[in-house]
Amino acid sequence: MAIDIDKIRADFPILSTLVNGKPLVYLDNAATTQKPRPVIEAITDYYSSYNSNIHRGTHHLSNLATEAHEAARKTIQRYINAEHAHEVIFTRGTTEAINLVAFSFGEAFVNPGDDVIVTTMDHHSNFVPWQMMCERRGANFRVVPFDENGDLRLDVYQNLLGEKTRIVAFNHVSNSLGTINPAKKVIQMAHDAGAAVLVDAAQSVQHIEHDVRALDADFYAFSGHKIYGPTGIGVLYGKEAWLDAIPPYQGGGEMIDQVSIERTTYNKPPFKFEAGTPNIVGPIGLAAAIDYLNGLDFADIMASEDSVLKYGRSRLLEIDGLTIYGNAQHRTSILAFNIDGVHHYDLGTLLDTHGVAVRTGHHCTQPIMTALQIDGTVRASLALYNTRDDIDALVAAIRKVLKMLGR
């Protein structure tokens, strides 16, 4: 059954606001998604009825808050099909999750002369932390390129893999090209070489398959704010055996077992990796977002997003001089383009005057821009509430801008 997008749109209050006097056409979902009413209400409800610190109180509110926080962990566990709730670690976002692994895995398993592999199409968040780790550990930073369509060069990847490879990190979906990488295959190849794998799922967990066990991911990271939840909360999934094997990232309260002047022993995962008072409401809001998704049919969401994406490509390509970046075999949610002779910053700024929100620039993926020999793109990115009407509004606004620019 097809999903009722009008009904879904009504659940997102912000979608009915005006921008510059025009109805908002929100096409910047890869940067962050809007929030449905249940998420907003879960946050308000937490602060208005049971705000309290968790895991330590003996009082009523503290128990309520702890229960809600831990129930959220289970909701997320089920959504990504993790085996255990304690394999779900709360972080600030994808970036912090990746930094955690780069640090802790690096400390335990990466030594001088070892190899760490990322890809040219990774976000700076899944690039720089590994570069830093390689510098710290004296390891080699290896990078898998992509081809002219935006598909990973698996042949090069195969050649880079070897017995020195300790870990491979790659994004399941590229935020600049929309490429869906063949995650199972990339992971299988790494495992065959004896390496661990981190999947950056920031742009995939909300759009496509997100089953960590089916993927056989060792680590899996995503951000709440890109899956209709609040900012400031993210998830690191790690297989139990890995979480037991790597040292903590930060020290402080909550992460300890026993502390003495001589020696400190650490708590078990997930708390071992959650030092200090955590973002308590974040997981509660994120769980509300996931419950909201669970109330819909995910296959329907994928089908709807895919149809809007295809429609968007064909409508955009009607525009003279427009080039789309990202022609990989499998794609999702991203329409990145430039128009001959028009600077992306100008196009983005002028689209805003028509109420159309897109992002412009290098999208935190400078290595991609370097490979494509451009300095940026205009990027329209979709979420479950986008429709063909949004695409029509985008195309109409582009035509108005081009006319104004005398083109």
Partner: protein
Amino acid sequence: MASIQEIQGQIVDDFSFLPAWDERYAYLIELGQKNTLLPEEYRTEDNIVRGCQSLVWLHKECRQGEVFLQADSDSLIVKGLAALLLQVFSGQPAEAVIKADLTFFKEIGLDKHLSSQRANGLLAMVEEIKAFAAQCVGGAA
């Protein structure tokens, strides 16, 4: 020559005739195309003011304590913004440039380009002009 304050007032007046956003930008772009011209020899690596999304070339000269500027950008909007800066600052005494408070961007509703500083380098340009003016005071530089 009109003072920086007077020029800012004039710019605000000019924009006040254009209530719609697309008209404002159309006018801004027109200003940029008319009033920025940078000889090839000044398009040097040294003269680049780097924004995260667009490039600006800014050429500065100091003559008898006055600041003279030329600029260009690869973005039409940034070129327009640069043209406004030149209109306000170029030919002014260095001391006036240092002291100037740029109020007009806010009044004509284009201050978002200043606050999204990393994106377009406008703020970096203002800072660079002021730093240059500091060296130019009294005719040096």
